[in-house]
Structure formats: C-alpha cells, structure tokens
C-alpha cells in the first residue's frame, strides 16, 4: 500500500542527529536548515535497493532537477521529500522540520505525472481542491484561484469540466492547483511527460514564468534534458538503479529564463554535458 504515515509518525532514520521532528509552526533551528536537506537518505524495498543514500540541498527559491534513467529512484526520492514515504537510511528535513510535519503544514505543492483532476469537479473547483482540505494549515492569505487560472491561460474555462480539456490544458489546471497553496516548495514528478514536444516546451516556459515572481523552490523530476537545463539552477544527475547522484551540475544561465534561451550556445553546452553524464551513469 502507498498510504502515507499519520502525521504523528517520525520518519527520520538512523544516523540522524540534527533532526528533531517539529510538528507545528515553521520554526527553523538555524540558518543552514532553511530549504530541503537530504542527508544520506536512501530507500530499500525489502531486498531491492531503490536509492543508495544521497545528499542534496535545495535552498529556498532554488530550482533543482532530478535527472536520471527510468527506475533509478527519482519518484522514490521525491515521495520521501514529500513525507509520503519514510527513508530507510539517513534523514530529510524541510526548513528543519520532518517532511511529514511539512506536509501537514501544507508546505508542498505537489504535481503528479498525470494531472489527477477530479472529473466530477469543474476546473475552478479542482484548483480549489487543496485549499478545501486540511484548512487549519492554510496560509492567512490564499491565492485567488481565478487569478491563477488567468495566469495559466485558462480564463474562459473556469466552469469547464476536465474531460472538456486537452491534455496540456489539464496539466495547466494541475499547475494552478499546485500554486493555489502558495507553498514554498513545489514537488513535480515528470509533470509534462505525457504531453507532445511542442506543448511540453510551452509548459516549461509557463512554469518558469510562474515560479520566478513567487520565488518558489522546485524539485523537478524529468527525463528531458532540455527541460532540466531550461528550468533549473542545478541539475542532479542520477545513475541507473540503484540510483545515486553522479554529479550535481550548476546551470549558469541568466534569470528570468525565457524561451529564446533555448537557442543560446551555453544551453547546448550544458545539455551536452548532462547527456554525457547521463550515459556514463547508465553504464553505457
């Protein structure tokens, strides 16, 4: 079963000295714990090692991409960060808190691979969905769903039903829904994987546009090198299973990221570098 642990269950594993799960509030225990800290976090499913212990830090406002071959543990790492799966080794903290506590405090905007829209709810009601549950943890000022629909270019579709939308439009709704919590961290698991190449490019441009002014930190999982370069401040390249981080590549491209950047020679240089790392990591 994939059912999450109750909020009362601490997920920190052994070797964890710095972490004390803090259940409520956004209390940080020091300056160095701001952001997402993954320290030696690994995951075993029985005898299968899905992810060898990895270290990674995502600063507030930073966009970090996990790039790696299929089955290397990207989803597993993302779910551990989201507090949906406890690590079997090491520890993860979010602003110094246990991920489960961060999840209870609604500090994550989650975008799954499928849009996961509820088909019986209108577009607007879908965007509101995450605002309606666990209300106690809502921030004082919630973003306006209609303004968000505006921002993703779906102004005229607020009362449309999901089945009336194209795949790309559905994923736009999923984006608006993730931003509706004004969460400091966005966790995205191959959100554009099901889309065609052109729509996909549009979507990464839109995502960059949405993230920049909000200063949202993003952990982004993808197979697409172009997506990784375009969106990220840093790209963590993972090896084939059992996954480990081969290298973390800095993407020194100017912000704000705009579509014409994809024709920049520096873009190609980093793309090539990532491709090489990816091939080394997959043992080919």
């Amino acid at each position: 079963m994939t059912s999450p642990n109750g909020p009362g269950k601490a997920t920190a594993g052994q070797g964890d000295i710095t972490t004390q799960p803090i259940r409520s509030g956004r209390v940080s225990t020091g300056t160095d714990v701001r952001g997402i800290s993954v320290s030696g976090a690994g995951k075993r499913f029985g005898t299968l090692e899905a992810l060898t212990p990895v270290d990674l830090h995502v600063a507030p406002g930073e966009v970090v991409t996990l790039l790696g071959p299929s089955g290397c543990g990207k989803t597993t790492l993302l779910r551990m960060i989201a507090g949906l799966e406890p690590p079997t080794d090491g520890a993860i903290t979010v602003d110094g808190d246990d991920p489960v506590a961060a999840r209870s405090a609604k500090r994550f905007g989650f975008v799954p691979q499928s849009p996961a829209l509820l088909p019986w709810r209108s577009v607007e009601a879908n965007v509101r969905l995450l605002q309606e549950v666990n209300r106690a943890a809502n921030p004082a000022a919630l973003p306006d769903p209609l303004a968000l629909l505006d921002a993703v270019g779906l102004t005229g579709f607020r009362s449309a039903m999901p089945h009336e939308l194209s795949g790309g439009m559905q994923q736009r709704v999923a984006l608006a829904r993730a931003f509706a919590l004004d969460a400091p961290y966005l966790l995205m698991d191959e959100p554009f994987a099901a889309l065609d190449e052109i729509t996909r490019a549009d979507m990464r441009h839109l995502l960059a546009e949405l993230c920049e002014p909000r200063n949202t930190a993003v952990v982004f999982v993808t197979h697409s090198i172009a997506e990784a370069v375009f969106l990220s401040d840093r790209v963590a390249v993972l090896s084939a299973r059992p996954g480990r981080i081969v290298e973390v590549v800095d993407v020194d491209l100017p912000r704000p990221r705009t579509a014409d950047l994809e024709d920049d020679p520096r873009f190609f240089t980093i793309e090539t570098q990532l491709r090489r790392l990816l091939h080394e990591g997959s043992g080919r």
């Binding site: 799954p112 996961a116 089945h163 919590l181």
Partner: protein
Amino acid sequence: MSRTVRQRPAAWAVIGLVLFTLTWELWVRLADVKPFITIEPSRIAGELADNPRFWLGQTWLTAWHTMVGVGVALALGVVVGAVLAAARPVEWAVQPVLVLVMVTPWVAYITSVVNWLGAGTPTILFMVSFVTFPPMVFAAVQGMRSADVAARELLASVDAGRREVFWRLRLPSALPSLFTALRFGTGLGLAAAYFSEGGSVASGVGLGEVGRRGTQNQGGGYPIVWGSIVCAAILGVLFLVGVNLLERRVLRWHSSQRAATS
C-alpha cells in the same frame, strides 16, 4: 413510415411491446390456453381499468417497500463499504459472510424471518434490505478502491483528513459502481418485496399479497393474479427508468454517460 421514425429507438420499443402483447392475446384466444396458465392481456387491462384506485394503491405500497428497503441497503452498504475499503482484514472477514447471504436463495429462509419479525411490514423491509445489501457493499468497496492513485497521493501531500478524502474522492469515485448496483438492486429488491408481501397474513400490504390472494381464490382470481404481475412489471420498468435518469444527472462527468448522450 418516415425516415425519422425509422431511426427512433423509442418507436421501435413500442412496436416490439405491441407485437409481444398481440402475440400473447392471439395465443391465449386461438390455442384456448387455460386461465391457470395465463389470461388475455385485454382481460388484465380490463381488470386494471375497473379498479384503478385499488391497483395504484397496492403498487404504491410495493414501490414504497422496495424503495425504503433498497435505500436502507444502499446507505448501510456505503457505510460498511467505507469501513471495508479502509481495512483489508475486516474485508477478508466480512466478505465470505456477504457472499453467503448473496448466494443463499432467500425464498428458502423467509419463513424463518416471518417467524422472527412477524408477517408484515418489518419482514418485508428486512428482506428487501437484506438481499440487496451485499451487492451494495461490494459495489461501494470496489468503487472506493478504484479512486485514482495519483489523486490519493495529491490529497496525502497536503495531509487531507480521512473524512475529507472520503467525501471528496472515495465516495464520488464509488458512484458509477453504486449506480450499477442500484439498477440491479431495485430488480432484486422488487422481487423480494413481492414475495415477502405474499407471505403476509394481513391484507392491503402490496402487490405480492394481492397476487397470493388471487392464487388462493380458485376460478375468479386469475385477473387479480395477473394484474399484480403486470403492475410489478411496470414498477420494475419505472425503477429502471428512474435510476437511469438519476444516473444521467449525477454522473454527467462520467465517461459512460458521455458515450450514452452523444
């Protein structure tokens, strides 16, 4: 016949029913079928037309028994289904019992229920609920389990409460299978209501009791027996139509309804 009529399913349905009734009528008249086998539809129609108030009243009683019984089964089925969907061991424990209830012919143990609850409304309602309950539970469990995994993760990612997940995701996900069970359950419930009414000693408890009295009244009772059968049949059709209309309204978002309406 114009082209539009030729392509209307409803028109063909009427033609089919008329042909069926005519065949029945002719068969009884020409083959001189004995009344204890069946009687002419025209005689049944005459009986119904002679006593419309009586037949409406009795049909309403049976309808009421079926709706209340099935309604209770549906409500309990959703509650029990929610529990079973949440806890596998409970499901493993309860499932065989429900299967047992479902496969046992209820005709076989109805006497025992009459002895327990007495002949009358309690027995009728109990029987209708009892026989339609297991399919409702199975439909609820299956539907709630079918809730989209990604949507479940999404709600978990903001730590939505069990109740919030139930109302916003699990229950709506179960609606399509619950409607299927409801369509099947009203037929089953109607049969249980008719038969249980027939086990009653008091008069004026519905079509089943009218039918049984007709059977005992040798000779003159056949129009009454067949009147109750035809009324029960009409009731069954009305239930089906009602469930389908409700489904079309409630499940407008569901793919099954889109295929049906477009």
